[in-house]
Amino acid sequence: MEEGMYRAVSGGRIALQRRQYSASCREFSVRCPRLQLRSLSAATCSVWLAAYGLFVLSQNSMVLSAAIFITLIGLIVYLHFVKIDQESLLVIGSLGIQMTSSYASGKENTTFIEMSQVKDVVINEAIYMQKVIYYLCILLQDPREPHGVSEVVPLFQSSKPRLDCLVEVYRSCQEILEQRKTSDFTRTLN
């Protein structure tokens, strides 16, 4: 298992963990920066200051309890639906590619794409406002029409690693996909 520290597009620090389970099975996990205490306290303080200001104006204590509820529920919703802690990519040659996003509350969202649908894994570049950002994506094909790209699935969308990290992952993935091509070749030969 290897671990490396890289930077995300926004500048935050992210960690890439690489694991090799067997010759054709590898896993890449990117860990996003954790929830900062200062941003959490800033948000809570601003909400409560606003609520206190309203209370002073309206003299209704319901405003304060409402502010507490809003803060709690907002935090729970944020942790469960928005904040992604870790994104991982599991490549099993001859079975498929699996993408997992784990949220800060522990929820995991998994998508699995079969190998017959995967055409290639590439790094694309995109122009976003004034920046050019690179992202890794999987090109899907319709198994009945191997010469067209039916869909593009972007990876690591929340952690957004920079090009150096993406190149590492790209090289490893291509090694596994190469094996698939050679095994296909030998199968057609027999």
Binding site: A23, S24, C25, R144, S183
Partner: protein
């Protein structure tokens, strides 16, 4: 070369024996369905397998051998297992072996004609047999179009799920049977069944027959010629209650039909309709019990007439306001008075009719409220119809105002063309130039001026009544939307997704288990259930909703020109 073996987790503690299952050569994968234990007679095993193959249409064969030895490796057993490969010839012959309580198994294959000199890599995928058997895979749209019986070469997982699902016959023999073959699979400890479910299955047959008979009687009555005479058929088509009852009748017919559901989709559809009907009737009875308690019907009837009176009075006030100086605008006095008096007279007629009917209202409401036991949707449709009937005068006023305004607009546009020396050519459907005589021009200009200066008055009346009509239409639309929601929500599928989420599978997820170098890669395959949104979208019942059939721009155009609008036109939906 990579070889994948899908092994059921229930067979991990089975005694040594033979592995039976299906070999998928295109994907180099073997799906193990059960383990046959010693002692057995090879001839009987082959015969049993060919019988099962004939019944299930799954290409089942002996895949290899499985040895579970409690002590160290036994050489004798190894030789015996190798000899078995000559009896049950299968290419390649898989040998799985487990030592003691070790988690890490060893896997090797034995090929008579080795196809490639390279080393084989093995992937061992554990799966929960019962869950995979009961589950139904919902692939994304690109793969659903491939025919199911073509071997599913497009989807490997589809092939695995298909194999396990079709092999139900194999799982019917448990180890207490006195057959020549001893199997281990998920049900080998004994077949489980629920007596309630079996009793309900037996009871449902006569109930279905009775229901079909009753429904055929009801539908023959509905289709009889008596009810098809012109005024009656017009009324039935306008009342939304009749439509809703018709839909429910269709649903009941679908449920009570004697044919078994051919595939999973039809079964889910029937179950969804059944649960939806049940919930509907339960809510309706709840509503009824609330309505009939404490004489609420009487209270409702007592408030109905004052409400109708109040609406009429408000309309009268509105017309008086329009006849005066509405919003500071100066109206043409003569036309204003004519239109105002015309509408006031209508309201007066309407009030008289309502007062004529008032002694019977309570009795009518009481009997109509009884129909709520047919379902909440029927009660809501009746409510929508009552609203339509009570606001009938608003609808009439809207039609009068719209027609008047429409005539005026057409007149104005035609005379405007005359002003500019042009004419509408009906034959060619375009505007052509035309030379008019002087007196034609004179009369035309006069009429144009009259119509133009009378426009604000008519336009104001039209605007006011259109707004009122739109309000009523929006309220009716909301009620219909609620009815449609109850009708088309697939409650059974949602509850299934909540309680037995493995039955509706979107895909699978793999978890990598502990590895040991040198041993095959171990993965656990779990079912990834569909999200609630896709469950509702996949299993939605056909909706008979009235969606707005006009876009916003065409609606605005129609309003401007004065055409009558019917925004909630009923779509004629085709059954799927």
């Amino acid at each position: 070369m990579v070889l994948k073996v899908f092994f059921p987790s229930c067979c991990a503690t089975a005694e040594s024996g033979l592995l039976i299952g299906r070999w998928i050569p295109e994907q180099n994968s073997a799906v193990v369905l059960a383990v046959v234990h010693f002692p057995f007679i090879p001839g009987q095993v082959k015969q049993y397998l060919s019988e099962v193959q004939r019944v299930t249409q799954v290409n089942m064969c002996v895949l290899g051998s499985w040895s579970n030895s409690k002590q160290e490796k036994e050489e004798v057993l190894d030789k015996f297992l190798e000899d078995l490969s000559t009896i049950f010839s299968h290419e390649p012959w898989i040998q799985l072996s487990k030592e003691g309580d070790s988690k890490f198994w060893s896997c090797c294959i034995f090929q008579k004609y080795p196809s490639s000199p390279k080393e084989h890599e093995f992937i061992l995928v554990y799966y929960d047999q019962r869950k995979v058997m009961l589950s139904q895979l919902h692939p994304t749209d690109s793969l659903t179009t491939s025919a199911d019986h073509k071997g599913n070469d497009a989807s490997e997982l589809g092939a695995v799920f298909d194999t396990v699902a079709k092999s139900k016959v194999l799982f019917m023999t448990d180890r207490y049977d006195d057959g020549p073959i001893k199997l281990t699979h998920w049900q080998s400890e004994g077949v489980e069944a629920s007596i309630i479910v079996e009793l309900m299955k037996q009871a449902s047959v006569p109930v279905c027959v009775l229901l079909t008979f009753l429904l055929s009687l009801v539908s023959s009555v509905c289709k009889s010629r008596v009810l098809k005479f012109w005024p009656l058929s017009f009324i039935w088509s306008k009342l939304s209650t009749c439509e809703q009852l018709g839909h429910r009748l269709e649903h009941l017919q679908i449920i009570s039909s004697n044919r078994k559901a051919q595939n999973q989709t039809q079964l889910m559809r029937k179950a969804n309709i059944f649960v939806s009907l049940l919930i509907d009737v339960a809510l309706g009875i709840l509503l009824m019990s609330w309505l009939y308690r404490e004489n609420r019907i009487g209270q409702l009837a007592d408030t109905l007439i004052p409400v109708a009176d109040h609406i009429a009075k408000e309309l009268q006030d509105l017309l008086q306001w329009l006849m005066g100086v509405p919003a500071g605008l100066k109206m043409n006095r003569a036309l204003d008075q004519v239109l105002g008096r015309f509408f006031l007279y209508h309201i007066h007629l309407w009030i008289s009719y309502i007062h004529l009917m008032s002694p019977f209202i309570e009795m009518i409401l009481w009997y109509v409220g009884l129909s709520a036991c047919l379902g909440l949707t029927v009660a809501l449709s009746i409510l929508s119809d009552i609203i339509a009937l009570l606001t009938f005068h608003i609808y009439c006023f809207y039609v009068y105002g719209a027609r008047l305004y429409c005539l005026k607009i057409y007149g104005l546009s035609s005379l405007w063309r005359l002003f500019r020396g042009k004419k509408w050519n009906v034959l060619r459907q375009r505007v052509d130039s035309c030379s008019y005589d002087l007196d034609q021009l004179f009369i035309g200009t006069l009429l144009f001026t009259i119509l133009l200066f009378l426009l604000p008055t008519t336009a104001l009346y039209y605007l006011v009544f259109t707004l009122l009509r739109l309000l009523v239409v929006v309220v009716q639309g909301l009620i219909h939307l609620l009815v449609d929601l109850i009708d088309s929500l697939p409650l059974y599928s949602v509850i299934l997704r909540l309680c037995r989420s493995y039955r509706l599978a979107a895909s699978v997820k793999f978890r990598v288990l502990e590895q040991k170098p040198g041993k095959p890669l171990r993965l656990l395959m779990q079912i990834n259930p569909l999200s609630y949104g896709s469950v509702v979208q996949t299993y939605r019942l056909t909706s008979y909703a009235c969606y707005p059939k006009d876009s916003w721009s065409s609606l605005c155009k129609k309003l401007f020109v004065g055409e009558l609008i019917y925004p909630w036109k009923h779509k004629e939906e085709k059954q799927d």
